[in-house]
């Protein structure tokens, strides 16, 4: 049976093409001068440059973390180019007509049409290509509601007060090695501000595309939901198929002020490398949100790509009665390695958190859940529920669970459930006996396993995610 499933799992990476656009790319290498040039390319104010430089100095003093259950060659940070942008973006196209059609075609091929008439109604998109944002759609409509949705490079200039106040407030510069690096060299990403009492009229989404070779992508996203507001945001990611590894080191900060709610969903499909583990993206990401009184942050992620993933979207439940949620599907196959999970830091009274993690391992991959639930002394009456399920496909893969629980308040309640199961011979036989081919059988069983997470995704994306898993699992069965 294992052989059957392995065949069913052999997939093609559909987003693996390279776009033919002329780019302006920095030579590989990293020093203060490179950071000055990045800042210069973006016409940043002095304070931003200073902030970057101080982060860089901190980074130089830090050590690359080695605690994660992943194994990859040491990254040569001097061999990476830290900035690449299509030449056509240099004179800042003012409308879609002025954007290089090849860029628009790229997104269309990825299923993200940027032409207004073809766009999915109700979803505004910020399209980031290598180090720059190409287009942000539906901005006028959002502005009417007072919502700011723009590239962070633009927000730094147009909304400096907001950026200054919140950037680095959730993920401090020194938080960790990759976060510090990101602070020094980040290029683009999205900025969102939802005003008081406003329900964002559309889904917001950012689509990250790496195109250029030997470049790293350092995404920076900052979302601020002011008191009583509500926003749902989704990010997607893909990259060409290449034999070299590429680094994606992102920082995402969410701020949910009193009574606000942020729903953040990720469909991560970076190039995973080939069967033998050649190539693929190193996805080293720091995502964290802070919840003030009665606020809620919900992270949902579907992780199918990247050769190495290191990612723990977390919530600091600072305000009383605030709520944090983490719903995750992580699928690894081939030689992929994922070490992912969450941190729920309960500070306020009656704070609640829910963690549902579904790990699917196939091939020779390694899939680890790493989660921390901390109840601080002030977290009176706080509750956490964690459910952590692993599904193994074949016997060469690994699933690991590393739950850390720290409770410093006796009234806090923490529940943890974990299961490990296999796609069983019996299940496969039942499906095939009813006429389903093995591919369909595996994808159906896997989809069923992920159901609790998929139902948390915005509807359009739940379908996408289901399909993505299906593509991930699809292959030719001889």
């Amino acid at each position: 049976m294992t052989e059957q499933i392995d065949k069913a799992l052999a997939r093609e990476y559909e987003a693996g093409f390279v776009s033919d656009v002329e780019s302006e790319t920095f030579l590989p290498g990293l020093d203060e001068d490179v950071i000055r040039r990045i800042s210069g390319m973006k016409n940043e104010p002095e304070w931003m440059l200073e902030w970057r430089l101080s982060a860089f100095r901190e980074w130089l003093e830090m050590e690359e973390p080695e605690w994660a259950h992943v194994d990859y060659p040491k990254i040569d940070f001097q061999a990476i180019s830290y900035y690449s942008a299509p030449k056509s973006m240099k004179d800042k196209p003012q409308s879609l007509d002025e954007v290089d059609p090849e860029l628009l075609r790229t997104y269309e091929k990825l299923g993200i049409p940027l032409i207004e008439q073809q766009m999915l109604a109700g979803i505004a998109v910020d399209a980031v290509f290598d180090s720059v944002s190409v287009v942000t759609t539906f901005r006028d409509k959002l502005e009417e509601a007072g919502v700011i949705f723009c590239p962070i490079s633009e927000a730094i200039k147009k909304h400096p007060d907001l950026v200054k106040k919140y950037i680095g407030s959730v993920v401090p510069k020194k938080d960790n090695y990759y976060a510090a690096l990101n602070c020094a060299v980040f290029t683009d990403g999205s900025f969102v501000y939802i005003p008081k009492g406003t329900r964002c009229p559309m889904e917001l989404s950012t689509y990250f595309r790496i195109n250029e070779q030997n470049t790293g992508q350092f995404e920076r996203t900052l979302i601020i939901a002011d008191e009583g507001s509500h926003v749902s945001y989704l990010e997607g990611c893909t990259a060409p198929q290449r034999d070299e590894n590429q680094l994606h080191a992102a920082v995402v900060e969410l701020v949910a002020l009193d009574d606000a709610e942020i729903k953040y969903s990720t469909v991560q499909n970076w190039y995973p490398g080939d069967e033998d583990g050649k190539g693929g993206i190193f996805n080293f990401v720091t995502k964290r949100g802070i919840c003030h009184t009665n606020a809620k942050i919900s992270w949902t992620q579907v992780e199918t790509g990247s050769s190495v993933t290191w990612k723990y979207p977390s919530c600091i439940l600072k305000g009383d009665n605030s709520v944090g949620e983490f719903y995750s599907v992580a699928l690894t196959r081939g030689r992929q390695q994922a070490d992912t999970g969450t941190k729920m830091i309960h500070l306020g009274k009656n704070t609640r958190s829910t963690i549902i993690s579904k790990g699917i391992s196939a091939g020779k991959s390694n899939n680890s859940y790493r989660g921390l639930v901390r109840m601080n002394p002030g977290a009176k009456g706080a509750r956490n529920f964690t459910q952590c399920d692993s599904l193994l496909i074949g016997d060469l893969c690994g699933a690991h669970t590393f739950p850390y629980i720290e409770s410093r308040n006796p009234s806090a309640i923490i529940e943890h459930e974990a299961t490990t199961s296999k796609v069983s011979d019996e299940q496969m036989f039942l499906c095939r006996q009813r006429g389903l081919d093995p591919e369909k059988a595996v994808s159906m069983i896997v989809n069923g396993f992920c159901k609790e997470v998929f139902k948390e995704l915005p509807m359009e994306f739940a379908v996408e995610a289901g399909k993505l898993l299906e593509i991930s699992l699809e292959g030719s069965v001889g």
Partner: protein
């Protein structure tokens, strides 16, 4: 003895699981529309027979032949056998968590339709049919939304198997102890379900330990499977005899075909 108008012909079948031969010289011929009951002691190889016929991985045929509607069944993939009209109701139905019954059934029906070159059934049409099938096996419609066999009681699982049969409309139905673990009412429901499907072009192999079921589903033939082969065949009255006397008197009896031969 092979008959051109047979639906299923099993000839001198020997089959093993994990290097242990379980089926040892099985012969069986079933014509369209017939109902064959198979009885026999625990461990005789009844379930194994069903698995071998449906092509379960790990079950290897050592020798012999099986044809379904004239086609060489042993040469086909598991799913192709199903698409050719072979259906197995499992003795121990397995759960598929998170996959709704409705989704599973529609995918199955669509896969089989596609193999016949037919279009996928519309969701609305299928839902209508599925609701009728639910009613026929006396399961609440809410079972369509639940995960396949997820948390079903023993009897509910068996009824669910039958519901799948009703929707897939197979040519040959192998019911492996579908009556075990059913209460009296459920037994009638299952029997009625089967009887409603009896037709000139659909045949049944009903594996059971209880003569009681055969009061409701009148078989054309009753066979005793023991030690991997059929050791006695007869009409419905054989079941009554077995009920009264058990299997001991047959254990050492020569096989039917040996007698005939």
């Amino acid at each position: 003895m092979s008959n051109t108008n047979s639906l299923l012909t099993i000839k001198d079948l020997y089959a093993s699981v994990e290097d242990k031969q379980i089926i040892k010289g099985l012969n069986l011929d079933i014509k369209p529309g017939e109902v064959h009951a198979i009885m026999g002691p625990n461990g005789a190889g009844k379930s194994t027979m069903g698995y071998v016929l449906s092509g379960r991985e790990g079950y290897t045929v050592d020798s012999g032949s099986v044809t379904l509607g004239g086609q060489d069944l042993l040469d086909m993939e598991t799913e192709d056998r199903a698409r050719a009209g072979l259906f197995l109701a499992f003795q121990y139905p397995v759960e598929i968590p998170g996959v709704s019954n409705l989704e599973f059934l529609k995918a199955s029906v669509d896969a089989q339709r596609e193999a016949r070159g037919e279009e996928a059934i519309t969701s609305a049409e299928f839902l209508k049919e599925a609701k009728i099938a639910c009613k026929q096996v006396d399961l609440p419609v809410s079972f369509l939304k639940r995960g396949v066999n997820e948390g079903f009681s023993g009897g509910e699982k068996k009824r669910n198997e039958l519901m799948q049969m009703l929707l897939l409309k197979p040519k040959l139905c192998i019911l492996d102890e579908t009556d075990s673990g059913l209460d009296i009412d459920a037994l009638q429901v299952v029997a009625e379900g089967v009887n409603s499907q009896r037709s000139a072009d659909r045949s049944f192999i009903v594996v059971t330990h209880y003569q009681r079921l055969l009061d409701y589903i009148k078989p054309d033939f009753v066979h005793v499977l023991s030690g991997g082969k059929i050791v006695k065949s007869g009409d419905a009255s054989l079941a009554l005899e077995l009920e009264a006397q058990g299997y001991a008197w047959l254990q050492n009896a020569p096989a039917e075909d040996e007698l005939e031969g």
